[in-house]
């Protein structure tokens, strides 16, 4: 499927709920609200064949946390982005749609302090067991000590 066909199908199905941007050939960005995240992803997987999730990136944008789901169907890289407020950083799990996302969601929890609802396995993944609770390294307010 070409990028224009993809755009047509997405706007036809989701209208204003999914904002489509074409960055360059084979790079597509789609923005959705948190509530639409799972329905859109489910539709992308079952109807358009975006079965593979490469990784999930978290961004600390000050007031919000942005979460980017990098999907691809083999050719086009589609990034599904959504935002959650910093005060209430809850995001639903997508492991029921794509089971391979489990490790990326665990990393999001460790590094940003996002809470992934209904995650099948909420244990720490990257950080050591004795890392203090509530300290999230990849947030912008966490500074690395450059020499004690």
């Amino acid at each position: 499927m070409t990028e224009t066909e993809l755009q047509a199908r997405i706007t036809e199905r989701w209208g204003a709920k999914a904002a489509f941007t074409l960055a360059r050939p084979r790079r597509v960005f789609v923005s959705v609200a948190v509530g639409e995240l799972k329905p859109v992803m489910r539709w992308l997987k079952s109807d358009l064949g975006f079965y593979h999730i490469s990784t999930i990136t978290g961004l600390d944008s000050g007031e919000n946390f942005e979460v980017l789901y990098h999907l691809h169907d083999g050719t086009i890289e589609l990034t599904l982005r959504t935002a959650v407020p910093r005060a209430n950083p809850h995001i639903p799990t997508v492991t029921d749609i794509i089971p391979g996302a489990i490790l990326y969601e665990r990393e999001l929890q460790d590094m940003f302090g996002l809470v992934v609802d209904d995650i099948p396995d909420p244990r720490r993944y990257v950080l050591p067991e004795d890392w203090p609770q509530g300290v999230y390294p990849l947030r912008k307010d966490y500074k690395v000590n450059a020499g004690n």
Binding site: S54, G74, A146
Partner: protein, 393 residues
């Protein structure tokens, strides 16, 4: 011995890098497997945010020793995309050449490690001997055996002379002859095959659901290769095949890697024969305008993806790296179910684990339980002091 749990790792002779697997066993059969990672986490993604883009290349290279170009290339591709730079074709070809040489040395390394894991040390010795030729060639073109430092934003740092091209062609012929020997060996040696056939099965549906990448997925019949699907560095101009197997076991993964080696030699020959003339780099500004870029790269172990967000300064706002071994871990846990204890090392080795890529924090705490993070200077100072105190006269 029903239901006992044993740990393999973080230190174990089977594992070349630290990670902790916990197996629930019933006699010699594995019922369940869990993994705990993070032993080689170095906080690299955070480190990118404090460094300029050029310093970031240096850091990206050191994510991994075996697949260092696999990290610098998507990093610089991201930066060039944000700068909207047109990189000269000669530079792209040289990047592809380094990438393919790296793939050769990595697959030969894997073949040796696989042999060692099943106790076939002779294969280990032979493949690593041949790998030395490849390392020599990498040293000829870049000056280093690992961490080649050949990428920069806008192109490559070193050019290849005609004399070097001649030597590379010779090495290619030698490696091709040796690899054909390994193909015969992998497909004919009964003790080797009996250890890897029908071991570590991963069905095609599981490979797709769990988002496996690289030879792990290709051995289960999933025909995905970033060089063909999402070409970069002029790979769309180069002729090569994507190798898949449908046996879904470790024999399939071995066969895929060995035949990929043949494709690498084909690619190297093509690149050397068709190296375009021109500059090797184009000047790049220090500050990168705000934007986001994503690039994928086919590392020897699978799909490597980098995401970069810039904010107009000379340091990136966010860099996200997902290395292929990380993606293969859920699939590995599935392949480990219902295997024998004896098969654990070869199954873990079959994803070609590079856990340094997969982790990205080391925390030091002294005996009094204080937590200290040391800077590089402090570490150097401490090591010099310790050596002075403990040096024997």
């Amino acid at each position: 011995m029903p239901g006992i749990r044993i740990p393999i790792g973080p230190q174990h002779p089977a594992l070349k890098e630290p990670e902790s697997f916990t197996f629930e066993l019933d006699g010699e059969q594995v019922i369940n497997a869990e993994v705990r990672m993070g032993y080689a986490h170095r906080g690299i993604e955070k480190g990118f945010e404090d460094r300029t883009f050029i310093q970031g290349i240096y850091l990206a290279e050191r994510i991994c020793g075996i697949c260092s170009t696999s990290h610098t290339t998507p990093f610089v591709l991201n930066a060039e995309e944000l700068l909207k730079l047109e990189v000269p074709r000669r530079a792209q070809y040289i990047r592809a050449l380094t990438g393919e040489l790296e793939r050769v040395h990595s697959h030969l390394l894997w073949l040796g490690v696989a042999g060692h894991e099943v106790g076939f040390d002779s294969l280990f010795m032979y493949t690593w001997r041949d790998r030395e030729h490849v390392q020599d060639m990498l040293e000829v073109i870049s000056g280093n055996r690992v961490h080649y430092g050949i990428n920069t934003i806008g192109g490559v740092r070193r050019d290849i002379s005609t004399e070097q091209i001649g030597r590379l062609k010779e090495m290619n012929k030698l490696a091709l002859a040796r690899t054909e020997y390994y193909i015969r060996l992998c497909t004919a040696e009964p003790t080797f095959i009996s250890r890897i056939k029908d071991v570590g099965r991963l069905s095609k549906q599981d490979a797709l659901d769990l988002c496996a990448v690289g030879p792990m997925a290709r051995a289960s019949g999933v025909k995905r290769d970033v060089r063909k699907d999402d070409p970069y560095c002029c790979y769309d101009e180069m002729p090569f095949d994507v190798i898949t197997a449908d046996t879904c076991d470790i024999l399939g993964r071995a066969v895929v890697r060995v035949f990929e080696l043949i494709q690498c030699y084909k690619l190297i020959d093509f690149i050397l024969a068709n190296l375009p003339e021109g500059d090797i780099k184009i000047r790049a500004p220090r500050r990168i305008p705000p934007g986001e870029a994503i690039n994928r790269y086919e590392a020897p172990r699978g799909e490597n993806i980098h995401f970069m967000k810039s904010n107009g300064t000379d340091k990136p706002d966010r860099v996200k790296v997902r290395a292929p071994t990380y993606a293969n871990i859920p699939a590995t846990l599935v392949t480990l179910k219902n295997c024998f204890v004896a098969d654990i090392p070869i199954i873990v080795a079959a994803i070609d684990p590079c856990f340094c890529c997969a982790d990205r924090m080391i925390r030091l705490s002294d005996r009094k339980g204080r937590d200290d993070r040391w800077s590089w200077g402090q570490l150097q100072h401490y090591s010099r002091e310790w050596l002075a105190r403990n040096r024997r006269a």
